[in-house]
């Protein structure tokens, strides 16, 4: 059985490079997906994924396994994402979508466009649940929301998305 993330992080804290390599291998793709789905800029998503791991390395000596490692990791990623959005807003960048990223299947395009229509909070909760596979509790910790709020918003998001996806579904 593989080591839990928290054990690996503590091993890295004590100097194990192999432990970090394992964490990187585990979370490289999920973190990249996290940024890419939210920014739709492949190059920037990759930079931010690397920056998240850099922050993990730099803060390793202060790490305490109070919460799950992935909550800790996504909290860093979320901070970087918000900073990136603020930076883009300040620069007045209505970033043109990276077409390379959007060379996606019709299904992906259809789902992405439907998700974009959701309320921003509900969208974030739904994406954290479906793509990052976080538990309700982890989402609540990450977004500093009560557990019940997470549950009710997640339900609303799912029902709204079902409605948004229905018209196209009828055509197929």
């Amino acid at each position: 059985m593989s080591d839990p993330d928290e054990t690996l992080m503590l091993a890295f804290q004590s100097g194990s490079r192999a432990a970090f390599d394992e964490l990187f291998a585990r979370y490289r793709n999920p973190l990249y997906g996290f940024f890419q789905r939210r920014l739709a800029m492949a190059a920037r998503a990759e930079d931010l994924m690397q920056e998240t791991f850099l922050a993990v390395i730099r803060a390793a000596s202060h790490y305490e396994p109070k919460a799950a490692f992935r909550t800790y990791l996504y909290a860093i990623a979320m901070k970087l994402l918000l900073a990136e959005r603020r930076k883009q807003a300040r620069a007045g960048l209505a970033q043109p979508p990276d077409l390379a990223v959007f060379q996606e299947s019709d299904t992906a395009l259809w789902v992405r466009q439907a998700i974009e229509k959701l309320d921003s909070y509900e969208r974030e909760i739904l994406m954290l649940r479906e793509y990052e596979q976080l538990s309700y509790d982890e989402i609540a910790t990450l977004l500093a929301l009560p557990l019940n709020t997470v549950r009710s918003r997640l339900f609303r998001a799912r029902m709204a998305l079902k409605q948004l996806l229905e018209p196209v579904q009828d055509l197929t």
């Binding site: 492949a42 990759e46 730099r58 739904l126 309700y136 339900f155 998305l161 996806l165």
Partner: protein, 119 residues
């Protein structure tokens, strides 16, 4: 769902594996006989399946140079004098917590040295 004793959100939590065992067992028994709940479950499952259709290609790059440099620097720092001080401090703390062991170890070591000298 108004006359339903299981709330839709609770049902969703059940399918997400978020309910406690006892609560999950009661919902499971109910769902087995309730077509309304089965329909809702199918709807939510459908949403999840369609969302899974939005796939992301893996990133092109492996670990960046700056990350490698940071890792190397961290390793060197851990080997720097401060690292050794910390190592000795840790050793001292362990010894201080077990003075009896330390005494035994010292005695054994003295004996070994004497034997070594005789040889």
């Amino acid at each position: 769902m108004s006359t339903h004793f299981i709330e839709a959100e609770e049902l969703m939590a059940y399918f997400d594996g978020e309910l406690a065992l006892k609560q999950a067992a009661s919902v499971s028994t109910h769902v087995a006989h309730c077509t309304e709940c089965q329909k809702l479950a199918a709807d939510m499952q459908g949403v999840s399946q369609r969302m899974a259709g939005w796939k992301v290609e893996p990133p092109a790059r492996e670990m960046s140079d700056s990350m490698r440099a940071e890792l190397d620097e961290r390793w060197h720092r851990s080997m720097a004098p401060m690292g050794w001080v910390a190592w000795w401090r840790r050793l001292f703390c362990v010894e201080a917590r077990h003075p009896q062991d330390l005494k035994t170890w010292r005695l054994r070591r003295r004996k070994d040295i004497r034997k070594g000298n005789r040889l």
